[in-house]
Amino acid sequence: MKPKKILLLFAILIALLALLCIFFPKNGVTIGKTTLRMPTLETIMHHDELLAKAEIEEVMDTLPIEEAASEAERFIMEMEGDSTRFWLPDDDPHFFQPLYEKLSSAKANHRFVRILHYGDSQIEMDRISNRIRTRLQREFGGGGCGMMPIAPIIPTMTMSHYASGEPQRQSPFGDTLVVRAHGNYGPMVQSHRLASPVSATYTIRDKKEHNLAMQRVKLIFNNRPGPISATLKWKDASGSWQSLDYSENEAGVHAMEWELDTAVESVRLNVNGTGDIYGVLLDGTPGVAVDNIPMRGCSGQQFTQINRDQLASAYALMDVGLIIMQFGGNSVPYLKYQKSRDEYCEAIGKQIDRLKECCPEATILFVGPSDMSERYNGNWRTYPHMEQVIESLIQTVNAHGAAYWSIYHAMGGNGSMERWYQQGLSGVDHVHFSQKGADKMGDIMGEALLKYIKNSKL
């Protein structure tokens, strides 16, 4: 076959394709649920311009700084144009003051001030929380890796965790295997009912990271009538096993606490009796403790499903300084219309109110969704209603007396998820961060939080 003929056929094919591209409707042809699409010639030939459009312009503008009454006010004004700013209720520059007081005095007062980091799948495996923990513990002291369930649910990168005895998991979220327990869930929004003796072993993964070592262990549980006993085993400095028993007969929410002479890398907790285990606090030295509490697939509306009194009793045993609620990502795809946004925000408002009611001393921070993309005509684009969702959330959260921090803005705003993906910072789904991305976001969030806490003092 002559090459000229091949070239001619090739040319005919390209010409036909060009005609198809020119005459095919730009918005595609919808047949049933499927839309057939063809690119325009401009799309094919101008990809550099498309790329330029997708590039995110980082907001670097800063607002003029007026004369401010205090350093805190001045700081808030300075931060207004910053992508890592917080939206505070009534723009109160001293919003984090109570938290600052607690954190700065924790070490001296031998307190373990807790930061509960609730979130959706973005924080699973202790992602983001671990970076905030490191940052804050470096500043205010403290150690350990926070609260863990008695039986492993999902592995974490910080702690290796095994348990025997198979206690029954109870939670208001999860698949059909998870038992609903009429509000008896506790501060981890899930609990484990004892049916037989349980033995849980916790070992820190990174032994070089001495700050993770455990020196205080606290078991939070809701006892049903009848005895419940627990034994903690650990190896002391000389390498010999030590153990200490506690028992409780009274029903209700209680805690058992073990203070060890030295920090240890591994402990084993044996629990026997009847009751629901809410969590095990694995802390180091006094200071700040950060708990990672992932709630996969949730949009942050489960707190009102927890028994109010039980939750309040549990929080009272934990010395909570800050509650972080990092949600919204699972709802964004469905919040296209104002009505649905209003409904979601109303629900979030109720959750904040409930948490404030159960833990009045705690400061509440809502961390909004990251930038999220959907595929449109072969390209990834930010959900068109993304900014409206965030705007509604900011108003609601502030109106209910909580602060708002925006991952979306911290990432770079519209279209930033695609850019993060190109840099290996997010997954192919354009929703979840990669490990590297989560670390980066954890650092940004931790740094911003610390800056605001420190600048909030009177």
Binding site: L17, M38, L51, R296, G427, D429
Partner: protein, 614 residues
């Protein structure tokens, strides 16, 4: 707009390499082919040296441009590799007649140069990581090393040329431009197949010829490759596989397991799709590239799989690694050094008492077998050479321990199969029963996801094997010459078992793919262990129908892909020929329809997430 586009098309832009699946490549190829027509069309009369040089030089320059578009100034590395290979080929060939020893030195130098290039660009981070882990040091590489595209292919191609000249299988290529064309021919430059000098060099001296039927076949391979790549590979990857491998813990055990099987099809569609397009494009210019895949998932055992998968690499490894190590005749000192070295490095890196004990036990066992069974030494050596080949073959695919593990598991599969073939039926029954019993006891004593997986797999094998043997015994009662191994049931079982085995070894392959070399080891192991953790956890069977229904497009495509894959070869050949002989107008129309369909998959919405919480 058009001129601007042309300018863009030929300028280097790291974010827009020339990919077969994008319009840019076909626009590029159209222009290249138009000039090629002018060059070839002018050739009247006998095919002279001038004609040959003009065509080959043109294609060489086009290939360089193609590589520049893909890799920028790494094109200089390609020049260096090509030039050094050509010079060494000449020097080596000249020494052949005078001194075999000197020729050997030149050959060794050529191999070392290519391996050094490969090691520097591909394995620098890997070895630094090993060194740091073993010595608890924190050395880092001062410069950022970027892996040049196709380096594994063109260095291997050069090595094969140098060794073949040394072995006098071929004589050196006289003209540097001819040689440069051989090493850089653009359709195969980026992802193979690895073309051997003895297969390709003779084509350099032949005039252009393409029959009408060959033209049709070329179009078939191109469309076949594009459909495989865009529909099967890219769609399945984006809609399902990549997201599971990104975050295995977000997905149920069933989704993790399904991702492994779907990945098996996807990686085949991706790689073989690319090769199909390369074969078709080369054929349009009158060049023939070797077949690289032969329906690998039809294999009934791991050894058979490797005769059907990435054939050009398997052959390369056989000829330039396995046989030089001693093949199935003997072993050389490098045979033991490679195996022992890898085992010791694994033990040192694991920094775990159990790992050290296991590796020490394996090494002791190997030494004991070698000393105590001198009659089986030949077989022992063959197995060592086999294992070395698979381990290094694994490492060729990527610089992380996941790839070595993947290669090792495949090697182990081949060794077990070879051993299985030799033992009597009664021995097989005992072996299967003992293995199933052992894994059952282990998973009771030390419950963990890995042992749960192993226990389930061995129990299934035990049940299937028992059923096959019972059938054999019953039918044999009436029909004495009955052999269950030759029945369809047995072939289907063996095929499925091999496919499952290969899919599970891919757990390590995929986890180590597409990673930043600087952190490949860590990320790859984490992903692999998370997947094992999920697959070996308890399954909620009630979720499976929901998941399948949610990802229906993915599972339907997977089923269609596997059915087409398993179609008999003679049937495939028939429809290939039927397609090739269609009138040219039909070929254009079919191509148009195929492109339209492919475009729909490119723009299709991605499956939204569903959350089946742990």
């Amino acid at each position: 707009m058009f001129l601007h586009y042309l300018k863009q098309l030929f300028a280097f832009d790291s974010s827009h390499p020339l990919l077969f699946t994008q319009f840019d490549f076909w626009a590029f190829f159209f222009i290249v082919f138009a000039v090629f027509c002018l060059i070839v069309g002018r050739q009247k009369g006998p095919f002279t040296k001038g004609h040959r040089l003009l065509r080959n030089t043109y294609l060489f320059l086009v290939s360089v441009l193609f590589y520049y578009k893909t890799s920028g100034w790494f094109v200089l590395l390609l020049f260096f590799s090509t030039l050094s290979g050509w010079i060494i080929g000449i020097l080596l060939d000249k020494e052949q007649s005078e001194s075999r020893r000197k020729a050997k030195i030149w050959m060794a130098l050529g191999v070392i140069i290519n391996l050094a290039v490969l090691f520097f660009f591909k394995y620098a981070y890997f070895f630094t990581d090993i060194f740091n882990t073993i010595t608890n040091s924190h050395y880092s590489i001062a410069i950022k090393i970027i892996l040049p595209v196709g380096i594994s292919f063109f260095t291997f191609q050069n090595i094969s040329y140098i060794v073949d000249v040394y072995k006098r299988k071929i004589t050196h290529v006289e003209n540097v431009l001819d040689f440069a064309f051989y090493t850089t021919f653009f359709p195969q430059l980026v992802a193979g197949p690895i073309i051997r000098a003895d297969q390709f060099v003779p084509q350099l001296y032949k005039p252009f010829f393409l029959s009408r039927r060959q033209f049709g076949i070329a179009v078939f391979w191109i469309l076949n490759g594009l459909l495989k790549k865009i529909i099967l590979s890219d769609y399945l990857a984006v809609s399902f596989i990549d997201r599971v491998f990104d975050n295995p813990l977000l997905y149920t055990p069933f989704e993790n397991c399904a991702a492994l099987f779907v990945y098996s099809l996807q990686v085949y569609a991706d790689f073989s799709g690319y090769t199909d397009i390369a074969i078709g494009v080369a054929m349009l210019m009158g060049f023939y590239l070797p077949k690289n895949f032969n329906s690998p998932y039809k294999a009934t055992n791991p050894a058979g799989f490797w005769k059907r998968w990435h054939i050009s690499l398997s052959n390369w490894l056989k000829d330039y690694l396995y046989i030089p190590l001693g093949g199935n005749r003997s072993a050389s000192w490098p045979s033991y050094v490679i195996l022992g070295g890898i085992l010791i490095i694994i033990a040192l890196m694991a920094k775990n008492l159990y790992a050290t004990l296991v590796v020490s036990a394996v090494i002791t066992l190997l030494i004991a077998v070698y000393i105590l069974f001198p009659k089986h030494r030949k077989e022992f050596n063959t197995n060592v050479n086999n294992m070395d080949t698979m381990l290094l073959g694994g490492l060729w695919h990527g610089a992380s321990f996941n790839f070595i593990t993947w290669g090792g598991l495949n090697g182990l599969g081949i060794l077990i199969y070879k051993w299985w073939k030799k033992i009597a039926p009664a021995g097989r029954i005992i072996a299967v029963t003992l293995t199933a019993g052992l894994t059952w006891v282990l998973h009771i004593v030390m419950p963990c996801p890995l042992l749960n997986m192993l226990n389930f797999t061995t129990i299934v094998i035990f049940i299937a094997y028992t059923l096959l043997n019972i059938t054999q015994l019953i039918v044999q009662h009436w029909k004495q010459d009955f052999n269950i191994q030759k029945t369809s049931a047995s072939i289907i079982w063996n095929t499925l078992l091999t496919f499952t085995f290969i899919s599970f070894t891919r757990l390590f392959f995929r986890s180590g793919s597409n990673l930043d070399p600087a952190e490949a080891n860590e990320v790859a192991w984490r992903t692999a262990s998370q997947m094992v953790n999920q697959i070996g956890s308890s399954w909620n069977l009630q979720q499976i129908p929901q998941i399948v229904s949610h990802y229906s497009a993915v599972f339907i495509l997977f089923a269609i892909g596997m059915i087409i894959h398993w179609l008999p070869e003679h049937f495939k050949r028939r429809y290939r020929l039927w397609f090739a002989q269609m009138p040219a107008t039909f070929l254009v129309i079919i191509s148009l329809i195929a492109i339209f369909i492919m475009r729909q998959f490119v723009t299709a919405d991605v499956q939204p997430f569903i959350y089946f919480q742990f």
